[in-house]
Amino acid sequence: MDTILDILSAVIREAISPGTAAVAIAVIGLNLHFGYTGLLNFGQSGFMLLGAYGFAISLVHDVPLPLAVLVGLGLAFVFALVLGIPTLQLRGDYLAIVTISAAEIIRFVGRLSNLKDLTGGAQGIQGRTYQPAFVDLSFFGDGAWTLAPFNYTDVADGAGWVRALGGLVFAACIVATVLVGRRLKRAADPTRTAPRTGLDGTLGKVAAVVLVLIGLYALFFAMPVTYGRSGVNGWWVRAVAWTLVALSTLVVYLLVRSPWGRLLRGVREDEDAMRSLGRNVFAVKMQSLVIGGLFGALGGMVYVLASTVQPDALGRQITFFSYTALLLGGAATILGPVLGTVLFFSARILIRESARAYVPDSIMSAQQTEQFSFIVVGVALVLLVIFRPQGILGNKRELRFNV
């Protein structure tokens, strides 16, 4: 029993970690590229790395924090222009080739020993050299804090059944949310003829939100997590990271529901048709590339807030994780990137920890469980693309007309 709880605890810690939030922000940007505009950007890690370098190096050189953020964003902006000007006029696949190589170039330049004074070479930049500027901003105070503050330990002396009850409520909420969500989706289908009932409209949306909130509380009630209030890896950085995730989601929502978002989808569907309607396709793609890239850079900065700037940590792998998370959650959906990222990283930890706990060392060493988790995730991605190509939140109807 304890092993299971340990594993679950590790999964939850991973799910709310700043790293997960950082990748979620990058995936939100990638969603703008790939999901809405149809741009094959395989270099999102390059945007992240540039953001991280710009941010951290500026802070190391005592640049004020807001300015450091702007430096990181500025680098990504220039990077997007440099990538976009030659390739966005060409067919889509070229952008994929150019972005993946450009991201690798950035990584290798970062590793150069000639630049050791600036980027720290392959070792990277130590967190303690730039993190204080951010950590000192915390108004969360000292000491530790537990989420949720009122948890199972406060009821019946933390008996096992209270905890189990919390878990059950969580599971029930997930199931109920899925059911309500399905209903909402069916109701949104314009071709349906059945009359709309109670849960199909706004009420259904409110119900879904309430269910999610109750579910989350139940989860943290049964599995409370404790971190320092401030500090390098405490609640402060988590709060900032997830607030940024929420803000990014909101910005993308505002963008894609507008006529500008319609331009993006139009370009995704048919560039020539958009030209015949008097739209500057190149400008639209460039705007999308830049904005998605800025989200990537922001993600990169958040990524290094609780760790170090390590060029190899932000390599191709992160780009592919991002695509996996995006496809898992559902491309061209608002919440898909966040849901996909959280599930992807949680699932990986779940597999790794389970393998570590239950498979004897003689069969699989600790290092091998890490690799094993990637194998399972890869297989899961293949199955996902075969059986649910639209992702969790995606719209199956759209896929039928894939051209």
Binding site: P259, G261, R262, D270, R275, R400, F401
Partner: protein, 333 residues
């Protein structure tokens, strides 16, 4: 638009249109009284073949001009060239065309559309994973909500969005697509997509609309009503240039007909004149273009056999010519 046409009160009147075009000599490249589009020396070669080689062509403002010609005559390529989707091989050596007094020779496809010349495609380009309504909304020009900075503030574009939507609904109703407005464009039938594309092009209130085989795959009743619609657009002052293989349609609505063959403009004139032109009959229409092959009387054994024999003879002659050409090319290479 009518105030710019010299001496004609309104082109809604058929007599006025006939009078307007009566002064134009029916020969290739004839000058028009008030051309909206003027094309000079455009040539497009694909490797060895010359798809388009137009010396001079003018399109009169405010009337319906039909562009006809055999398959592969270069009609679509010609459309592509003047709408900026293709570049002439003769660029830099005299190729020039102007629309509404503005040179378009160096303009991108999107600027051509913005200038007021909107086209449709022979192979329909619907935006499949978007709703019919969204397709239509993209047709409207100058939307402030398409500005990146304004787009996040809904109040800045809500009003305009409503207006555009109203207009889109009106057009969709006219094109019998209103019930489909929330469906994905990809779920429409081929003919419905043609209609959608035409309706979408009209969303921008173009000065001139260029339709590439608009009636292909559209059922007769709807063709009738669309023809009425196109005429109404003309009467409101829009210029229409369209490619069509259905001679009944061409005869019915066009005020002027331009015939292309092997890339060149071979004849021009009012529908009747052009269709009785022996060169046009030989190159395109065929001797029996006036005969309805569905008519019972034609289906008597004798008549049918006679037609078949003539067609065979015709094809044989063509093949002979083609082979001769091939041989020549073969010799060259």
């Amino acid at each position: 638009m009518s105030e710019t046409t010299i001496g004609t009160p309104s082109l809604a009147d058929p007599a006025a249109r006939r009078a307007l075009m009566a002064g134009v000599t029916p020969e290739p490249g004839a000058a028009k009284q008030d051309p909206i589009l003027k094309v000079d020396k455009i040539e497009r070669r694909f490797g060895g073949i010359t798809a388009v080689d137009v010396e001079h062509l003018e399109v009169q403002r405010g009337i319906i001009t039909a562009l006809i010609g055999p398959n592969g005559a270069g009609k679509t390529t010609f459309f592509n060239l003047i709408t900026g989707f293709d570049k002439p091989s003769s660029a830099g050596s005299g190729a020039a065309w102007e629309f509404d007094g503005r040179s378009l020779s160096k303009t991108s496809a999107s600027s051509v559309a913005k200038a007021g010349m909107v086209r449709t495609f022979q192979l329909t380009k619907s935006l499949n994973r978007m709703t019919v309504m969204d397709n239509m909304m993209l047709g409207a020009q100058d939307q402030s909500g398409e500005n990146l900075l304004k787009s996040v503030f809904k109040p800045l574009w809500r009003g305009q969005e409503k207006d555009v939507e109203e207009k889109a609904k009106e057009l969709l109703a006219r094109f019998k697509l209103l019930e489909k407005k929330d469906d994905y464009a990809g779920s429409l039938s081929g003919g419905q997509r043609k209609l959608l594309e035409m309706a979408r092009a009209l969303m921008s209130d173009p000065k001139m609309i260029m339709l590439d085989e608009p009636m292909a795959g559209v059922n007769p009743a709807l063709t009738q009503s669309l023809l009425g619609h196109i005429q109404a657009l003309r009467d409101e002052g829009m210029t229409v240039l369209f490619v069509e293989h259905d001679m009944h349609v061409v005869r019915h609505i066009s005020d002027w007909v331009v015939v292309m063959a092997e890339g060149r403009v071979v004849a021009e004139g009012p529908a009747d004149t052009v269709m009785s032109n022996q060169a046009v009959i030989d190159a395109y229409l065929g001797a029996h273009h006036d005969t309805d092959l569905g008519d019972d009387e034609v289906l008597t054994e004798g008549a049918l056999e006679q037609i078949e024999a003539e067609v065979r003879a015709d094809e044989a002659a063509h093949e002979a010519v083609d082979e001769a050409k091939h041989d020549q090319q073969g010799d060259k290479s």
